[in-house]
Symmetry: C2
Subunit: 82 residues, 2 copies
C-alpha cells in the first residue's frame, strides 16, 4: 500500500528554512504572509489492510521519520495502484 507522510515543524517552533524561503519569495516580489517547510515522505509498505498500515506508519513516524518534540506528522493512505 502506498502512503504519504507529511512532517511539519510544530506551531511556535523556529523554522529557519521557512524564514529564508519567506524572505526570498518577498524579494522576488511575491506577496506572502508566511512560509513553513517540512518533509514529504512517500513510502510503499507491505501491509494490505488500512488499519494495520496506519499503525505501522505511526510507529515509523515515532521511531524515525519525525521528531515528536518539534514536529507533527500527518498520514495519508492511498489506494493500491494510484
Amino acid at each position: 500500500m502506498k502512503a504519504t507522510v507529511l512532517v511539519r515543524p510544530k506551531e511556535g517552533i523556529l523554522d529557519p528554512q521557512g524564514q529564508a524561503v519567506t524572505d526570498s519569495l518577498r524579494q522576488l516580489g511575491f506577496a506572502i504572509t508566511d512560509a513553513r517547510i517540512g518533509r514529504v515522505i512517500d513510502v510503499e509498505i507491505d501491509d494490505s489492510d488500512r488499519a494495520g498500515a496506519r499503525a505501522t506508519l505511526e510507529r515509523m513516524c515515532e521511531q524515525l521519520l519525525a521528531n515528536p518534540l518539534i514536529e507533527s506528522y500527518e498520514i495519508v493512505l492511498r489506494e493500491n495502484g494510484t
Copy 2:
C-alpha cells in the same frame, strides 16, 4: 489564502535521503518497498481568488521552490480559515 506545495524528486532521479530512510526503516524491522523524500511548503499568500493563487504558486515553484529539472511539484489550495 493558504496553500500547500509538495515538491518531490522526479521518477528516476537518485534520492539518497530516501535511500537512507529506506535502509534505516528496514533495519528497524519495517517491511517497506521504497521510500522517497521531498519537501512540503505551507504558504499563505495574499491572492483571494483560486485561479490567481494557483498561477502565483506556479511561478513561485518555477522560480524558487522547486528545481524543475529534477523535481516535480503539486499545488493544493486550502480554503481560508482551515
